[in-house]
Amino acid sequence: MEIVLTSQPEQRQRFLSALETFGRENRLPAPVMQAADLALEEHLTNIMRYAFEDSLPHPILIRLTVEAGYLRVEVEDAGKPFNPLASPEPDTSVPLELKPIGGLGIHLIRRFMDEVTYRREAEKNVLCLRKRIRPGAEAPKRP
């Protein structure tokens, strides 16, 4: 399934409905849907905040595929080059009182999805996320 959103917050409801429909039609287990939902929320927010200099609507393409026991989610945007994976993992051993709050979004994407890859292709940022589909899939990896 492919869906094109513009980088405007109002498109959110339409997208969430489409995601839910896709999950239902493909009988994806709840933990898989939860992971995709969260990863997309984080990444789309990042795109809308950082990828574009202006506030014009920019199309973002989201492609959902079920293949070989995995859910694959690809997000393409034509914003400026931005590799979310270049951010360092937060150090969970640092005392919580002293930890800065940044970097949480990427951390969550990495923990909830099994594979996260980024490429820059034809003036587009392409983030590819994959999650293994297991019946009764267990909780995401603990820090």
């Binding site: 959110r12 409801q13 969260l38 709050i101 951390h107 969550l108 909780a139 995401p140």
Partner: protein, 137 residues
Amino acid sequence: MDSAWAPGVQIQFRRPNFTLLNSRAELRLPPPKPDYMDIRNIVTGDTYELLVSGRIDGPGANQLEEEILKAIRAGTKSIYVNLSEATFLCSAGLRVLLQYWRQMKNTQRTLLATRPSPEVDSVLSTSGFREMIVEKI
């Protein structure tokens, strides 16, 4: 018991079975929009309980922050963010909780999350902040 106007006649009052209509389907309400979020505020003295229902996404986090700020401006000593009915939590919501947990703590007051739903709990655990901001029962 005897009826006053017809002594000797037993009148049985049958209490109807009240089933709690807490289901939108039973009330025949349409399903809420996918990004539905609602915050109810229950004040007991110096304590505010913010009962959050629905999706704490980007806009939801802003709304949560508004409610927390209102509570702080009202001079509350303790804020409990009840997440039992929250269906989703992302980093934006988590940041709001962390920021105000820290701010309240620095002023000898309290903000804690309570009773996270399973979906929210998995996000809190994965973030590494669960033990810090969830109320210990």
